[in-house]
Amino acid sequence: MSDVTEPLLSIRDLSVAFHQGGKTTLAVDSVSFDIQRGEVLALVGESGSGKSVTANSILKLLPYPAASHPGGSILFKGQDLMRATDADLRRVRGNDITMIFQEPMTSLNPLHTIEKQIAEILALHGEVSVKTARARVLELLNQVGIREPEKRLAAYPHELSGGQRQRVMIAMALANRPELLIADEPTTALDVTVQAQILKLLKDLQVQHGMSMLFITHDLGIVRKFADRVCVMTGGKIVESGPVVEIFDNPRHAYTRHLLTSEPKGTPPARDAAKPVVLEATDVKVWFPIKAGFMRRVVDYVKAVDGIDMRLRAGHTLGVVGESGSGKTTLGLALTRLIASKGRIAFVGKDIQDYRFARMKPLRARMQVVFQDPFGSLSPRMPIADIIAEGLAIHESGLSATERDRRVAQALEEVGLDPATRWRFPHEFSGGQRQRVAIARAMVLKPKFVMLDEPTSALDMSVQAQVVDLLRDLQRRHDLAYLFISHDLKVVRALANDMIVMRLGKVMEQGPADEIFDAPQHAYTQALMAAAFNLEAVTSSVIRE
């Protein structure tokens, strides 16, 4: 109370080191920043920059003793948390400083009701008695915008949607009226429309309660919209910090400039109606039966994909856009005949819907798939040369070992990787490099059609832009047809000629991509665009909570 200008939290020269297998790595290197009362500070950086580690060390939530602090101090209201006892820390955690995390499903205990979890926080720190707890829980749920909170008290986490779960997490974080809220990528796991709602909620609550907030994110759009000041982190260091407007308008550090210019750019190659049709589908349906009763009778269907028509020409890209659960991946799997479906699917003029494994096999070489998670899509036990050559061994079994090796090297070079690295294992590559390996695996077979299932979603922004450029380059060179599935409208805009907007298995809007982006007709598409490009929450019946 002595000095009003004294910062709420003041971090000086904080370092974090991790010891593993006799090696020590410095994850955070002499980081210093202050958070004033009522201020939102964004910590922005790509994965591995040390931003989450910094945030977790404030409440000492790191895996000690594997992690250690070689130096620095964390002053919260004059108290050094770095040297605080466990008992002191417990008083601060969940009370003065609270945190919300990225994945609301795993942050909530699946075995307890919402009421119990929120009341627990109150009981741990509060003077709140059991009787008054319920009233306070209801109040909190109201605050975070859960409709009809009385009915939700007895709900378990799995009964809520992702957005609702994150709201419950926020309610828990607010329960004891904290002075500082640490939000670690709180909207990354959510759909864009929900993300916009949650951001709005957080901003409202922050203003209302006069909280300070440390907001960790990789999304510069959020930072611009949301934060007062920003610290840019890379390689464990803060390279630049200052007011948001200043940094965005006049970035001084090269890395900040790189981040700001790294959004996926460019436009898809021009349309050409003379190109042959590669893939055509009419009325594609994927219905999963719901069975009930003793005889397991089919009582209803989950209509994951419900009557979709599409046509894709060589050298063109069809973007499939939708939020999670909209059936866009299911559609992709159905079109590549990886799951069973109904309806007509024609690939290079052949009706492939009834093809069995053996007849499908020669076509597999011409139709390839690249998946979202570059960590999951490469077998961890094979060197990448073997991973890429796997398809060659099947479809061009006549190749000699040298010839096959040459093709692998060529494919690697095509995706911009050094062929000399092909004897390494996937874990020795970064996320972006691994995605390039996955693309090389598809390209080595010289396909005509590639299904790209969120190929950029697991990557950092600047890497995304590179992968988008690579994909466009490959498309131009080999006249490839892409089915590009993504929830990220910015990436779709940079790649797609045509677009399908899906929701709950049905097409909301379909047509040329530029027309839809310029003038979305359907209310859902409009809401999606507003959320994706302006982070604006639209209160409309078309949006889920």
């Binding site: 593993q20 297998g21 006799g22 590549t336 990886l338 494994f357 499908m360 096999k361 597999r364 070489a365 139709m367 390839q368 798939v369 998946f371 979202q372 998670d373 999951g376 899509s377 490469l378 077998s379 036990r381 094979m382 060197p383 040369a385 796997e390 398809g391 099947i394 479809h395 040298t402 090796d405 040459r406 090297a409 060529q410 070079e413 062929p419 000399a420 004897w423 294992f425 996955a438 695996r441 077979l445 299904m451």
Partner: protein
């Protein structure tokens, strides 16, 4: 561009992948398991050469200028002037005959598992030689203490059993047969169990459902009684016992392998392989089996010691290997009947407990080695 095609040879990183090397490092870090592994390996290696260590015939003999290998070849006794179909090299007559016309190299223990010692000092079982005075040791030989045959090579270091057979020779052979039985049974049940678990986990659905129900029924059978019944009908022997026990022991692997396959069949790299047109069998072998093998390998040493124990108990009950075969279970049962000869029971006890402890220690170290979360300083 041309440079690319030059880089053909993979770098020489050695025979093993980094993961295997890390696991080997973890395995070594568990000192107890590491040394147990080597002790067990040496013991098993030695027991594989049991014929060269304990045998009632020489390894090499030279007779009238001819080099003979009695350990490998059955020479009729006529060759040495006798009349039996098989030469009894331990008899004085043959020994004298060969010594007169050449020389012999004997194994360190001159008894095989079936050889009865004709010169025991009193009625069998006789105690280990180091419990006897020099007089007693040689009491059974025709010339007593002065008999040239009363020498270390003919001593019964661990005594004899109730049929005057050398205990040391019997445990060497018994150890070998137990471990071999355990290894073969474990390998075969792993083969069957992993295959069954893989098929269930990979295909799921009705295949999984039917096989699960079958396994539930199958594993609820009273195994021991079935073993006893079958052992009473079929002539007991190595192969028959192996077959019967294999019928039930494979079930143990199914659970873990099925779980691993169920988990891994939806991995993206499995889907990616499907999209490449890779066949089911190849996917199962190349992409899924390595995942399941970690769990399986961790399980192996424990299954191995379990198999050895089962064989021993069957032998103990008298439903195991045919009479006369060297077996640890039979030795325990002798120890039980001849309570006045404690060396029988004690020897069997120590051999079994050391063997099983070594295996468990190796098993622990293996489990540690495959545990990705385990770190050693």
């Amino acid at each position: 561009m041309t440079r690319v095609s030059q880089v053909n040879a993979p770098p020489r990183t050695g025979l093993f992948s980094p993961i295997s090397l890390r696991r080997w490092g973890n395995f070594k870090a568990n000192r107890r398991g590491y040394w147990s592994f080597w002790i067990f390996a040496v013991l098993f290696g030695l027991s594989l050469c049991a014929e060269l260590i304990a045998n009632d015939r020489p390894i090499i003999a030279s007779y009238k200028g001819e080099i003979l290998f009695p350990v490998a070849v059955d020479y009729p006794e006529e060759k040495f002037g006798g009349f039996l179909a098989q030469t009894d090299y331990r008899s004085d007559f043959i020994q004298n005959e060969i010594d007169a016309h050449g020389w012999t190299i004997w194994p360190p223990i001159r008894y095989s598992y079936q050889t009865a010692n004709a010169y025991i000092p009193h009625s069998a079982p006789t105690p280990p030689v180091w419990l006897l005075s020099r007089q007693d040791r040689c009491a059974g030989y025709p010339q007593g203490v002065n008999d040239p045959e009363c020498r270390p090579a003919n001593f019964n270091w661990l005594g004899t059993d109730d049929q005057a057979r050398d205990v040391a020779a019997r445990i060497i052979y018994g150890f070998r047969i137990s471990v071999l039985f355990g290894l073969i049974l474990t390998a075969l049940s792993a083969l069957v169990g992993v295959t069954a678990g893989a098929v269930q986990g990979y295909f799921g659905g009705w295949t999984d459902l039917l096989m699960q129900r079958f396994i539930e029924i199958w594993s609820s059978m009273p195994v021991l009684y079935i073993l006893l019944i079958i052992a009473a009908v079929l002539p007991p022997g190595f192969g028959v016992l192996l077959g019967i026990m294999l019928l039930f022991s494979w079930v143990g692997f199914v659970g873990i392998v099925r779980a691993e396959f169920l988990r891994a069949r939806n991995f993206e790299y499995v889907n990616a392989a499907r999209a490449l047109g890779v066949g089911n069998v190849t996917i199962m072998f190349r992409h899924l089996l390595p995942n399941a093998m970690v769990a399986t390998l961790t399980f192996l040493p424990f299954i191995l010691s379990g198999s050895i124990t089962t064989l021993t108990s069957l032998d103990f009950l008298g439903f195991g290997m045919p009479p006369g075969s060297p077996s640890l279970g039979e030795l325990i049962s002798q120890g039980k009947t001849n309570i006045e000869a404690p060396w029988l029971g004690l020897t069997a006890f120590f051999v079994l407990s050391i063997m099983l402890s070594l295996l468990i220690f190796v098993g622990e170290a293996t489990r540690d080695a495959f545990d990705p979360r385990k770190t050693f300083r």
